[in-house]
Amino acid sequence: MSYLAPSKRLSSQTRLTLRSIGAQKVLSDVFTQTAADAAAVGFVLAHLPREGGTVLWAQDRLSAKEAGQPYMPGIGPAQPVMRVAVSRPSDVLVTMEDALRCKAVSAVIGEIWGDPPTLDFTATKRLALRAEAHGLPCWLIRRAAHPNLSAARNRWRIASLPSAAHPHDAQSPGDPRWQVELFRSRAAQPGIWAVRYDRATGRLDFSAASVDGTVDARDGADRHRAAR
């Protein structure tokens, strides 16, 4: 196992860019490692604009069945959400396109299960162009899917990592940490990061992950630090 040296942590310049990639008002794909992992949803929610209009959240039937529904008591009241639960993936795409034209919507999230034939390059291109024309962030969360051809401007792959140490209880999970891989992007260099989400302030802390995907031992579930 080879870890990156601590000195190779990202410079502040790169960190700023990373945060602004997520906040870009373009179409982004997010792939989850396992289907029921909520890390991708947490990552998307962390990037939503803090104020503004309604967030439109479209789900197809399988996504809702396998990975659950958005739960507002956990998400918080910051963004009003409108949910569209439809059965077919093509209906999700139609809903997203329609919502991207609406001025009162601040972001559009779509969840599609698997690789339906309707979700081809043309469909993603339409979404991407429309999102850019209307200046809205548009996120497509894809579960049990292959990263095949897509016009998404940023493509992420996200998995859970053992959470940060809880400040008061060594036994409890603390702030969530995710392994975030940007594997295709127009604006930035692809890379892998371990991201810690600070729930209190809503900040994302990017730090370099090791080459083989494991995380620096000092960043992980460090019980000694909490128990000092």
Binding site: T34, A36, D37, A38, A39, V41, G42, F43, L45, G53, T54, L56, A64, K65, A67, G68, Q69, P70, Y71, M72, P73, G74, I75, G76, P77, P80, V81, M82, R83, V84, A85, V86, D91, V94, T95, D98, A99, C102, K103, A104, V105, A159, S160, L161, P162, S163, H166, D169, Q171, S172, P173, P176, R177, Y197, A221
Partner: protein
């Protein structure tokens, strides 16, 4: 009763029957028929008491909203006799027949005609005619059958009637009875000055002086007759049967919107009816979240629905009706022009609802409950939700499974945290956990025997964070061993 009369299952008049409504402490008598009234069943009494009095009392639930609607319809129906009518309380109608009676051959003939028409509808009507609203009210309820009170004889006609006939509330009636004033005549004989002094601060329905003045015609009480809501309908009558209504829709929508705009109305529901040549009809119904009269928007709502029409041999008449109409002002959202953003959102809701159905497009309604699935409820965005309850302070997952999924869990019996669980055929080893957070069943909602839940936030070896709960305790007497469920996922 109305429905039963239509279906021919109404109870006969000589058997006691009563309509009941939900009261504060169980059902109370809403209204009775004559047989029950004579047997001593009173309005407002509790059904259990009246059943004790009269064991074979037949009890049916009252359709209060239906009755109110029927009364409103009846108010417009009685305009066949005179142009002005209004509702008078929940069970009365007042008609201003001034100048209309000669058309029906005099006052007595008009009343006879009214009674015949009402009985043809299956309704019993007590009718009286008097120069003032108050006198007509009193004579209809406490006077003789079809009594007619000529001008100048009001005092004489009303004097034998009890004081209840003055539209006073119960407290005032009791007070007047205690004062020894049992009839209107006795009340009218009291010097006005002393009566006025006694009731100087009383409101209208507890003030016998004002009510007496109204009944005697000393104070004017005009009938304000509400207008029927206008109906809006556009239709296309076609010389030849056609198969597809799409080319006619823009014109129909525009015509309907012009009609509504002329009268300052907007609609929340549209009904498209096509009449087939073989006598069949097909209806398409679309709804909107806010009132609208924008032809382009209305047209858009029908976009995917027209394909559902089976043309058969074609159709030759298309009608478009506006329902749930309401007065709508033209508003300018911004001083510098430009559209309002909330209008955009409501149109998006309309479009999505028209396409995917009311239940597909929803907004969360938060409620004050500790049971997770009750704390959030998805309600149709078309109807809007205003529930914004305080969210529970404890940490909650960002995803919730619609149905908790049972898992096999290895844990220290009886109350230990989960060590390992198998969910969807995969084994998750728990590395860290937080909990338990005990959520007791809400006895006012849940069935007896519902078990409590102990929620744990757990993190597995791969870092995935789940919300698990154990249902019940060992030996709580509510079933066998506790079962474990996955209920949600944390970020």
């Amino acid at each position: 009763m109305r429905v039963m009369a239509q279906t021919g299952t109404a109870p006969p008049d000589d058997l006691p029957a009563a309509m009941v409504a939900e009261g504060q402490h169980g059902p109370v008598i809403h209204d009775t028929n004559r047989a029950a009234r004579l047997a001593g069943v009173q309005r407002g009494a509790r059904v259990t008491d009246m059943k004790a009095l009269l064991p074979d009392l037949r009890v049916e639930y009252a359709d209060i909203y239906g009755d109110r609607h029927a009364m409103e319809q009846l108010m417009f129906w009685v305009r066949r006799w005179c142009p002005w009518s209004a509702q008078d309380g929940p069970d009365g109608l007042i008609l201003d027949t001034t100048g209309s009676d000669h058309l029906w051959g005099g006052e007595a003939a008009m009343l006879a005609d009214m009674e015949a028409a009402f009985s043809a509808l299956g309704l019993t009507a007590q009718i009286a005619l008097a120069p003032t609203w108050g006198a007509a009210w009193a004579l209809a309820r406490y006077g003789t059958v079809r009594s007619i009170c000529p001008e100048g004889e009001i005092a004489q006609k009303l004097s034998p009637l009890p004081v209840e006939a003055l539209r006073l509330n119960n407290g005032t009636v009791t007070l007047l009875r205690r004062l020894g004033l049992k009839t209107i005549g006795a009340l009218a004989d009291v010097p006005r000055l002393s009566l006025t002094r006694r009731f100087v601060k009383a409101k209208l329905n507890e003030n016998p002086v004002l009510r007496l003045d109204q009944a005697m015609g000393r104070t004017a009480e005009p009938v304000s007759s509400p207008d029927a809501a206008p109906t809006f309908r556009a239709h296309a009558r076609l010389p030849e049967p056609i198969m597809d209504p799409t080319p006619f829709m823009p014109d129909l929508c525009r015509e309907l919107c012009d009609q509504m705009e002329a009268q300052g109305y907007g609609c929340r529901r549209l009904l498209l009816t096509v009449y087939h040549t073989d006598g069949d009809t097909h209806r398409i119904d679309v709804a909107m979240s806010v009132h609208s009269r924008d032809p382009d928007h209305l047209l858009y709502l029908f976009r995917d629905k027209l394909d559902a029409i089976n043309p058969g041999y074609g159709f030759d008449l298309i009608t478009l009706d506006a329902a749930q109409t309401e007065q709508m002002q033209t508003v300018q959202a911004h001083l510098g022009g430009g559209a309002d953003e909330t209008v955009d959102l409501s149109r998006l809701i309309d479009r999505l609802t028209a396409r995917f159905g009311v239940r597909a497009v929803s907004t969360p309604a938060l409620r004050e409950s500790h049971v997770p699935e009750r704390a959030q409820n998805w309600v149709g965005a078309l109807h809007g939700s205003s529930d914004t309850a305080e969210v529970v302070a404890a940490e909650r997952p960002i995803r919730l499974l619609s149905h908790p999924e049972e898992v096999r869990v290895l844990y220290a019996v009886p109350k230990g945290p989960p060590v390992q669980f198998i969910w969807r055929r995969q084994t998750h080893k728990v590395t860290r956990y937080a909990g338990p957070e005990r959520i007791a069943p809400e006895w006012w909602h849940d069935l007896p025997g519902t078990r409590l839940r102990d929620y744990f936030k757990v993190e597995d070896h791969a870092g995935r964070r789940f919300w698990l709960y154990r249902e019940g305790l060992h030996g709580d007497g509510r079933g066998g061993d506790p079962r474990w469920f996955v209920h949600g996922m944390f970020a």
